[in-house]
Symmetry: C2
Subunit: 231 residues, 2 copies
């Protein structure tokens, strides 16, 4: 029997906590390379096999990436796991889609607004490129989900709020659900509102950005509502 | 060298994905007990040691709890890890506190409002009890952080939105930061606004609940702002 528990952590569990402290103390950034197993084992006063175990736990929490033959590196968006809110384990995907949309209404117009205030020239360039790519894919009927997520990510990043880009996994996990439900129906509205959002950010017009994002969500909600009798 | 990687997952990694599918197919709920190692090893066509490895990874993602001498159980708020958005790895805690407060303004008044609409008698009973306990602790000068978090959790749960209770880790991680900064200064305002929020939910008055929560956040923001020259 194993003994991972609130009170009773396994040695690799405790060691992974120590390695987190080590990463913080050294102020290591994403992409930084961790010392190799034997050096780290010395640093931590632990065995190499325990360090290996601990690293696997840290990898499963997206704190490090273990690259075969290359080494162990601090992960991008360190500590942000895939599906951080465990939506995988919500069975009622219909209610989940609706409830996620509620949250998108709360957060995304604000994100667009602050992006319009804080986006720099580089941010704007990236947002415009992604807007054009999504539009191209929509017109060609190519699957645009990934690019659509990148578009929303770029807007969140340009808001310069530290929390917002970490909320993006929530938005990410919702977009495929929405596209599934709203696909083809909202092609023109998506192109139009994506353009408006991009233009508003480019003009540093927070009200216009807020409203354009709000419209974007309203179009989605109307389609979902029309297919969703319990709302 | 280990080989956990996007493309190249280790056997325990792959196995943990299979166990997640198993949990979903069986529609297992928090508290449900998983079959023991040897049975699961058979089910998965894998070795017991691999199953043990996989379980450690699932435990580190709060998908299962491994209880020594008892067995392995589906975790509460399955798949929601501690610090899911990796705030541990944000160095600028001052900006983090401010940016978190921005997000709390977006989400928490809505949570209070929907709680007022959807709370049942049992929810209200729990919220009232927690409100009284926090008030007692504040008056006695006892550390109330944990209870304060429970109070906000109970409100989120009673909103009946599937996403909101999973956003609570975000709010949790902010409350200790706020208390640290605002402690003692906001004793009376906290008691007053917590009471208002509780009363509004009890009366099923969404506007009153929204406004009371908004006030609660304004008191916090004023204190933080007064101590925070860059805003």
């Amino acid at each position: 029997m194993m003994n991972i528990d609130e009170n009773e952590k396994s040695l690799p569990e405790k060691l992974s906590d120590d390695i987190v402290k080590y990463i913080l103390n050294k102020q290591m950034k994403p992409g930084d390379r961790l010392p190799n197993e034997s050096i780290l084992a010395k640093e931590m006063g632990a065995g190499r096999s325990s360090v290996r175990e601990a690293m696997k736990l840290l990898a499963s929490r997206n704190i490090v990436n273990i690259k075969q033959g290359s080494g162990t590196y601090i992960a991008n968006s360190t500590g942000v796991v895939e599906d951080p809110l465990g939506f995988t384990f919500i069975n009622d995907k219909k209610k989940l889609t609706w409830d996620l949309l509620e949250i998108r209404f709360l957060i995304e117009p604000y994100i667009a607004q602050t992006a319009a205030l804080n986006a720099d020239d580089e941010d704007i360039k990236i947002i415009e490129e992604l807007c054009n790519e999504v539009e191209y894919m929509l017109n060609k009927g190519i699957d645009h989900v990934e690019k659509d997520i990148e578009f929303h990510k770029a807007i969140a990043k340009s808001s310069k709020n530290l929390v917002v880009p970490r909320l993006i996994p929530i938005i990410n996990s919702s977009i495929p659900l929405f596209v599934e439900i709203t696909n083809n129906i909202l092609k023109d509205e998506t192109i139009e509102t994506h353009r408006e959002i991009t233009q508003a950010i480019k003009e540093h017009n927070p009200v216009k950005a807020n409203d354009a994002m709000y419209m974007h969500l309203v179009y989605n909600r109307r389609v979902i509502q029309s297919k969703n009798n319990n709302h």
